[in-house]
Symmetry: C2
Subunit: 420 residues, 2 copies
């Protein structure tokens, strides 16, 4: 896409209300704009990155037989009364009343709705198991929204629900989700750790959290320095230097950002909502459930928090808004603009996503914007073009290469392969 036609409102100064780097860069690089406390607009660059994250999630969940659907944000009070959560959920639940005085919640989670959607149909063991998921906007009236997309009041989540005739089936699907989540976070370029977790307000028996490792994380992970033990501090409140509970190594602490959560819900919701099936002996049983969440917008933020330097973001190639930034240094020079435009078209033709900075801006502005946005590969078209040469810079390593235009596409293909 041509940058002159794109909405990328970059900022020179660090916004005073942004405390952590990922939040600062999201604002400075023109990725998000605040509409109200904890409520943001995702601007075009952010939307492109989110689109890549969502595609990765869809691919991995479709591979484990996930059915994508889309439930509404508006949830009738009656459904929340069935589980009793209307009264216990507290002030984090956003509530409203329609023109006929009917009460609704704005969904922070969808256990009630999905159980209602499937309960008539899943009436026999023959129709189980079933896995459904959605990527959707969620609402939670946080007391202290902060850190941009880390703790917002309106945010994008992938939530999934599974339904089973027996515990073994749930265990199997739960394990598949653990693997799918591992794939998803690896593909997004995230450094993370899976930890034992508390199941909180959702309820249920077993659960684990996926924690993106980051100093600014709000959660504390307790883990073994050399063993496999890892838990949320709410589950295992062990001091640093105690021996590890798995008998290997000693306990250490780290900070993490929760990006995923998997739960074995059991029959908490199916019992209260009368979601039952007939088993092989024609006996009524409550459906056994699992639920599985990923904070989609939070994943984007965590990746930025883990991948940046003083100049800006450093995108992993899998979820970068574009693969390549092509920059004609001076667009008033026809030679530079023409060559850059041809390179842009050539790179698009072989499948790359390319941003062409065709703006009439000073070179310094263009370069600092490019560093801020942090696309994996930058192609600079300057004076060297008279000799058929352009400069290529790899954002992740800082390496710079002078390359012949005639060899540009094959050179970039090779370099792109090597990138994280």
């Amino acid at each position: 896409m041509k940058q002159s036609m794109m909405f990328i409102p970059t900022l020179r100064e660090v916004p005073s209300d942004a405390e952590i780097r990922s939040h600062q860069f999201l604002l400075r690089a023109g990725f998000i704009k605040q509409v109200a406390a904890g409520v943001y607009t995702y601007l075009p660059l952010a939307k492109r990155s989110l689109h890549h994250i969502e595609t990765i999630i869809r691919e991995e969940l479709n591979a484990i037989d996930g059915n994508e659907l889309l439930m509404p944000a508006l949830q009738p009070k009656e459904l929340w009364d069935e589980t009793g959560r209307w009264s216990v959920y507290g002030s984090e639940l956003m509530r409203l009343t329609d023109r006929n005085s009917r009460e609704f919640a704005l969904g922070p989670t969808h256990e009630e709705v999905i159980t209602d959607v499937v309960r008539d149909y899943l009436n026999s063991y023959k129709k189980l198991p079933l896995t459904v998921y959605q990527i959707q906007t969620k609402f939670r009236d946080e007391a202290r929204p902060r850190f941009g997309l880390m703790r917002g009041r309106e945010f994008i989540m992938k939530d999934a629900y599974s339904f089973h005739a027996n515990q073994e089936s749930l265990d199997k699907t739960y394990d598949k989700f653990v693997q799918a989540y591992t794939n998803i976070f690896n593909r997004c370029g995230l450094k993370f750790r899976m930890v034992e977790a508390d199941s909180g307000q959702i309820g249920g028996s077993q659960s684990a959290e996926f924690m993106a490792l980051a100093e600014v994380g709000e959660d504390t992970i307790v883990y073994s320095t050399t063993g496999s033990f890892a838990a949320n501090i709410e589950v295992a409140d062990l001091p640093v230097g105690a021996p590890s509970p798995d008998g290997v190594g000693v306990v250490d602490h780290a900070k993490g950002i929760e990006v995923g959560h998997v739960f074995k819900l059991g029959t908490k919701y199916s019992e209260s909502m009368n979601a039952v099936f007939l088993d092989e002996n024609q006996k009524k049983q409550p459906i056994i459930m699992g639920c599985y969440g990923i904070g989609v917008s939070r994943v984007m933020m965590a990746v930025i928090e883990q991948n940046n330097d003083e100049n800006g973001m450093i995108w992993p190639k899998s979820i970068a808004p574009f693969d390549i930034h092509v920059i004609p240094v001076d667009v008033k020079k026809a030679e530079q603009l023409d060559a850059a435009t041809k390179i842009y078209e050539d790179l698009k033709a072989v499948g790359f996503e390319v941003l062409l900075d065709d703006r009439k801006e000073r070179a310094g502005v263009k370069f600092s914007d490019a560093d801020l946005i942090g696309l994996p590969i930058r192609v600079t078209v300057g004076r060297g073009i008279s000799d058929g040469l352009v400069e290529i810079k790899i954002r992740q390593t800082g390496e710079v290469f002078e390359v012949k235009v005639t060899e540009l596409v094959s050179f970039i293909k090779e370099k792109y392969q090597e990138l994280a």
Copy 2:
């Protein structure tokens, strides 16, 4: 995907509360499920079709330099006070109060939010024009929600906004949108007509509606039988048989479902919200705006309303949930299941989206479900497989062919090309 793992809750009976065919089939074929009046869950088949519609919209809008972004549903009252719409919008605007007693609207449209998002940045004629769009869930507290997705209270819309330094630039972008919309609705397989329209609550100078032609439509189109004149009856309340205002033919009436709307807004929002830019003479001017909507979920419903028979839906190939339905008649016969599974894999390998009905159901149930869902091509694997033969049925024409398994893929490729 394997049908045994999919959530497709088909119904035998016509639901008593569904008056029109598209609504009946959406319910009967397991595409949607009501959660509250005018509030629906889009089940997996509907989600797949919506995904195709959304992809077509993205392709056509990106081609006219549209920037996709995503604005929040929660909109602060303060923004709506700036334009005065908080008090004039009435009871269709869903409102809520957060834990700190701040008031919000749930967005039925986003003129206020987008004007706020861009007003700081678009401060110079050099940054204009700009076109942004989003595909997002909208909320409108309809007094009488009805006809399923036709008039709902929570629905999917594509809304777009454009910003200009002068009227000529707006005119140019408006014309581009008219062409993009024409492409989008044609690609979705919709029979439609563009008509002159009233600009309603949004305000503005010139506007046109895109009407899907359907007897059950809630809007009346007044058009010339042989000329080019066409308008919404609110704009030109002419009786049938009057001469047409364009001097060609006579007036007739038709019913339509509004699926798209394009507006020249002018400076209504930029003036009230102080969104100004410096022109070439360094003079402050209000930004000139356009806005452009498509009812995404309504497009899906309109396509079904136009394409069905007594047995169910008849999908155009561009937005069908899957391209091909492969049906082994009796999955207990290994020969049939194995052959069907191989056909399923072969067709997927060449790029088709395929649904394999591997359920242990009677043939009659499978065939009536297949007709109901209405995928473009059906492959039936029955006894003929012993002789290497399968049956192919084209849903749109009813044609049936007996084809050798060895020639199946090339035969289907050819037939698929010919389909609408």
